[in-house]
């Protein structure tokens, strides 16, 4: 088992049959001989290239590499599984978004932002999905749990890091009460950069 193409076939089979994404460390364990990270990455890139014309693609997510159906296959998913997977309610998704972007946060933090009580069911739904977990407790009375998103959350959304989350939209920059006299600079962030600094 030494030729690169054989190694590639083994990696392919491992990735195709694994329930979870496989990291480089996982993939190395497949072989008795030591295979360098560079070699592995090159083979993975080749595999991704080989699969690019298919309805299945090789993607890299937080915990490693995984084969998944491509976007082009989406219309067929419903015909394959007639029962639609449940969509999360707005309450769940807003809670998830706040935890994702503001983590680590307590349930109280989420409530402050949403302006409404966050039910235990919402937290449980996200916990049982494996998307959030408790990463500590805040040193305040009652020591509320601090929640953060998990690696599974990133994996399930096809992300490698939190930085790949959609950037937060700037709703507005400053509070403008009067005609913009007091803070002209702050209101013109896109002013042509006259002088390179």
């Amino acid at each position: 088992m030494s030729s690169p193409s054989e190694v590639k076939r083994v990696i392919e089979a491992a990735l195709l049959s694994s329930q979870e994404p496989l990291s480089l460390v996982d993939l190395k364990r497949l072989f008795e001989d030591d295979i360098g990270n560079d070699t592995l990455r090159k083979l993975l890139d080749e595999l991704r290239e080989e699969w690019s014309e298919r309805a299945v693609e090789l993607v890299s997510v937080a915990s490693g590499w995984r084969f998944q159906t491509a976007a082009s296959f989406r219309p067929f998913i419903e015909r394959l599984n007639p029962e639609k997977p449940p969509r999360y309610s707005r309450a769940v998704m807003e809670t998830l978004a706040i935890i994702a972007y503001r983590q680590p946060v307590t349930r109280g933090d989420v409530e402050d932002i949403r302006g409404v009580v966050v039910s235990t069911q919402i937290i449980q739904a996200l916990e049982s999905r494996g998307w959030i977990d408790v990463v500590g407790h805040r040193e305040t009375p009652g020591q509320p749990a601090l929640y953060a998103t998990t690696r599974t959350f990133l994996d399930d959304l096809g992300l490698r890091t939190l930085q790949e989350l959609p950037p937060l939209e700037e709703i507005a920059r400053t509070l403008q009460l009067e005609p913009a006299t007091s803070q002209p600079a702050a209101n013109e962030p896109a002013a042509p950069a006259a002088t390179p600094q």
Partner: protein
């Protein structure tokens, strides 16, 4: 209290003196709409966005008035929910009353009574958008399927491995439990005898009767001969075999103890 007394808001520089009529939700639709709102902030955002107002220039008076109308009709339907909305109503009224006070010539951002509300509204709206964006990401199991090819493991059942040490360990636990050291001391020599006892029984099972001499193979050496003899004696003592001789110097026969078929 009339909105026309002073421009209560500037929409993109234009003073707003009239409340757009579509700001109001028909009371019939209220019940349905409230289910759709995530809470007081959400309702407030809706009211502001419906009027297409600059969120930074919240028209406090009409907004508060309309908001209170909603809270009023809500109270009869869902008291728990109403509590959160009431807190917001109180906040709106407080802001409104502070807005009525004479304002200093230069307004500082921090001193604007609406600042905190605006900050919360902006943050909430930002998170609402973020939630929609996250929901739009391709989700495994919903928009894309993970590939999972069947792992064909070998059909051969894996049997436990046993090491001689494991047997010793098993015996050790037996001893420990029963403190049977005296009764079950087994030496190497004894083991050897026991092994031959089993062997002789096996041979006899096949041929029922064997001549004494057939049980001994001189090729194996004296020690084996001795052990075999000891095994025979032990088997006889435990009445597992019968040793018979018709007369002196006649062949000695060994057979399994007579087992009466039931």
């Amino acid at each position: 209290m009339t909105a026309a007394a002073e421009p209560f808001a500037r929409i993109y520089g234009e003073p707003l003196v009239e409340i757009p009529t579509d700001l109001y939700i028909p009371p019939d639709a209220l019940e349905i709409l409230l289910d759709a709102f995530q809470g007081p902030l959400d309702l407030l955002l809706y009211l502001i966005r419906k009027q297409n107002l600059d969120i930074l220039d919240i028209p406090m008076a009409p907004l508060t008035r309309q908001y209170l109308d909603y809270v009023e009709s809500m109270r009869s339907k869902n008291l728990d929910l109403a509590a959160e909305y009431l807190v917001m109503a109180a906040m709106l009224i407080e802001i409104k009353s502070r807005m009525l006070l004479p304002r200093p010539a230069v307004v500082n951002e921090e001193e604007d009574p609406r600042a905190e509300l605006v900050r919360r509204l902006l943050e909430y709206e930002q998170m609402k958008k973020a939630a929609r964006q996250i929901d739009a990401l391709p989700q495994i199991g919903r928009d894309v399927l993970a590939v999972s090819v069947l792992l064909e493991r070998t059909a051969v059942e894996r049997l436990p491995d046993v090491h001689p040490r494991d047997l010793a360990d098993a015996w050790r636990t037996l001893l420990f439990r029963a403190r049977m050291s005296k009764h079950h001391r087994v030496t190497r020599a004894e083991l050897s005898v026991r092994e031959h006892m089993s062997q002789i029984l096996r041979q006899l099972k096949e041929s029922r009767v064997l001549e004494f001499t057939e049980l001994f193979d001189p090729v194996l050496g004296v020690s084996v001969l001795v052990v075999t003899f000891l095994a025979l004696l032990e088997l006889a003592r435990e009445m597992l075999i019968d040793v018979t001789q018709a007369e002196g110097f006649a062949p000695i026969y060994v057979r399994i103890s007579h087992v009466e078929p039931v």
